[in-house]
């Protein structure tokens, strides 16, 4: 059990800067998700924490100890790999026991831990099988179990669910979270899937092109994105981002060239709401009917597309013109050049 601290960490591969000036505090016992598109540096940061990559500059500390020069074995961390990396010629039991035997633990201690992990992951019947005899989901659990038995200070997970089908992924997500809450071990979890991040993390660190864009709770990232990238990345369907210029709205605090961000649930048909800012008008470009709600992509000008939400089903078809309005509380402003958030919107029309 230990906190993890990244301080001004940098990493370069040849001429490519994979991680720049990365600083992050991960509280002891918490579940931190590193999320971002590929190339964002999240996996590199994780691997540096594991000790599989050398730190270019800056420090990484586990607990009080700076571990830059400490071998992975000594760091007492356990990792779940994306391709599971199970030892193919060993049984599940031996896969679990391998790391424990390396550390010269007593045989009964090993037995106990193996049994406990197997029970927790419902692998009891499969202990003597080889990985290739198992299904993808079972292999994934073995990978988890192998990390569990180590009882490390930190769990590291590198996109462990990306090889599972959608249904299994959702199910396993919950199981991992539940397990982690039981054992209360600090966990760092890397994924490119923002839905996964939002549902699993205590806190989320959004990364892009090697930089940390924002760190916070799911709510914070959702309600108060710090910049355009986070605003566009988090949330599904994505936030509508539209240049302020040309909108028939008065938006105090917005300079020329600012960008307005509004989530679909805060853009409604004019008839459907009261106290909405607007009206805005546009042509429906597409309709996404999801049963419980319908999303309309509405073009109200060049490069100006809003995603408008309608409860239930809607008879509206692409090509039709609609009028819609925006919920004032849901509006966010971003500076055009830097992309940074310009603070909450004050006032209404």
């Amino acid at each position: 059990m230990a906190a993890v601290t990244f301080r001004n960490v940098e990493k370069r591969f040849g001429s490519v800067e994979a991680v720049r000036d990365f600083s992050l505090e991960i509280a002891d016992g918490s579940f931190m998700v590193l999320v971002g598109p590929s190339g964002s540096g999240k996996t590199t940061a994780l691997r540096m924490l594991a000790g599989l990559e050398a730190v270019g500059a800056g420090t990484i500390a586990i607990g009080e100890r700076v571990v830059n020069d400490v071998s992975p074995r000594e760091r007492d961390v356990a990792m779940v790999f994306q391709d599971y990396a199970l030892y193919p010629q060993m049984s599940v039991r031996d896969n679990f026991a391998f790391g424990l035997r390396r550390r010269k633990l007593a045989r009964d201690v090993i037995e106990r831990r193996v049994r406990r992990a197997a029970d927790a992951l419902e692998l009891g019947e499969l202990l003597d099988r080889r990985p290739r005899e198992l299904s993808g989901g079972q292999q994934q659990r073995v990978a988890l179990g192998r990390a569990l038995v180590r009882e490390p200070q930190v769990f590291l997970m590198d996109e462990p669910l990306s090889n599972l089908d959608a249904k299994l992924r959702v199910q396993t997500r919950g199981e991992i979270r539940r397990l982690q809450q039981e054992i209360e071990t600090t966990t760092v979890y890397v994924t490119h899937d923002q839905v996964e991040a939002m549902t699993m993390g205590d806190r989320i660190a959004v990364m892009n092109a090697g930089r940390l864009e924002q760190v916070g709770t799911p709510e914070e990232l959702y309600e108060r994105p710090a910049n355009l990238f986070v605003a566009a990345f988090i949330g599904s369907p994505a936030m509508s981002l539209v240049p302020v210029a040309g909108l028939p709205l008065e938006l105090p605090g917005a300079d020329a060239g600012a960008v307005l961000g509004v989530r679909p649930e805060h853009a409604r048909l004019w008839e459907d709401g009261e106290g909405l800012l607007g009206p805005l008008e546009g042509e429906v470009a597409y309709v996404e009917a999801l049963g419980r709600e319908t999303f309309l992509g509405v073009d109200s000008g060049p490069r100006t597309r809003f995603v408008v939400s309608v409860a239930g089903r809607s008879p509206i078809r692409p090509g039709e013109r609609v009028r819609f309005g925006l919920v004032a509380d849901g509006l966010r402003l971003f500076a055009a050049a830097s992309g940074r958030a310009l603070g909450p919107l004050a006032g209404r029309r």
Partner: protein, 296 residues
């Protein structure tokens, strides 16, 4: 601030320990002798008394001495039997096999490859018996069908000895080419043949346009292996003809042996050895350069 390039705990210097035993034996028994050979080649030495410095004379002899010239010429001739013929036979099969499905290929491959695993000494003993003027399979077979007039002293005839030795090599190596090419041909996507056929190509055109380029890698391997074997030919010559009759079947490797261990011309032998190594190296490079360029 860690400035080390390697992640902590990754094996780095220990690599040298892993390498040491193998590298040591290799250096001591392959590299060092190679350098030593080059050194010996600069001397005239009988293997017993002190040697005498002659600089590059031994290398010069490679070009001037008729015995050595004919040895290398014979090696060149043998190249045809070792490399060209087997590859041609292999290509013949590849051409026929290009678009067909063959069952039992594994069984055929096992048989075809068999000559490759038999010791060359055994192969030579075997063929010496086959070539025997009296009682050998060829001559007895010819006599049996009434063509006794064609029976020859295959290995004892001045003109026939070298080709006869060469054919032994062809027998040893055509299976290798066939196995290589049948595997390679199966990797050529059938769509290429379909495209060629649609373009109106006949079987000959197909062979040159699709099969041959598709087998470039395999041809390079076959040529490399057979060329090196051709230049190293010792066992077969030693057992079948001993270089004879006269000098009809001398080869460079045989010259090395003869000079170093029989006639006390160790420096000269070393020079021949170096030359062999250089030719092998150059030819391997050339063959693979050709193959790569084609692949581009």
């Amino acid at each position: 601030m860690s400035a080390r390039a390697a992640p902590p705990g990754e094996p780095r210097r220990v690599a040298y320990l892993y390498l040491l035993p193998g590298l040591a034996v290799f250096a001591a028994f392959v590299l060092a002798p190679l350098l030593h050979t080059a050194w010996i080649a600069l001397f005239e030495w009988d293997g017993v008394s002190a040697g005498e410095w002659v600089g590059l004379d031994n290398f010069g002899a490679l070009v001037t001495e008729p015995e050595l010239r004919s040895a290398f010429w014979h090696a060149l001739v043998l190249l045809v039997f070792y490399a060209v013929l087997p590859v041609a036979i292999g290509l013949l099969l590849a051409a026929a096999m290009a678009r067909t499905r063959v069952r039992g290929l594994t069984a055929f491959r096992t048989v075809l490859f068999l000559p490759q695993v038999i010791a060359l000494v055994v192969v030579a003993v075997m063929w010496r018996m086959i070539y025997a003027p009296e009682g050998g399979l060829i001559n007895e077979g010819l006599r049996a069908i009434g063509l006794g007039g064609l029976a020859q002293n295959w290995l004892g005839d001045f003109t026939l000895a070298l080709p006869s030795v060469g054919l032994i090599a062809t027998w040893v190596f055509y299976g290798l080419a066939m196995v290589l090419f049948t595997a390679g041909v199966q990797k050529i996507p059938p769509s290429l043949y379909d495209a060629a056929r649609v373009d109106g190509a006949g079987p000959v055109r197909e062979f040159f346009a699709v099969t041959l380029p598709g087998l470039r890698g395999e041809i390079a391997v076959a040529l490399t292996l057979t060329t090196i074997a051709a230049l190293r030919n010792f066992d077969i010559v030693y057992i079948t003809t001993g270089g004879g009759p006269g000098d009809a079947t001398t080869v460079p490797a045989f010259e090395v042996y003869e000079r170093a261990f029989q006639s006390g011309r160790v420096g000269g032998a070393a020079a021949v050895g170096i030359c062999l190594a250089a030719v092998i190296f150059a030819l391997s490079l050339a063959i693979n350069r050709f193959a790569d360029r084609g692949l581009r």
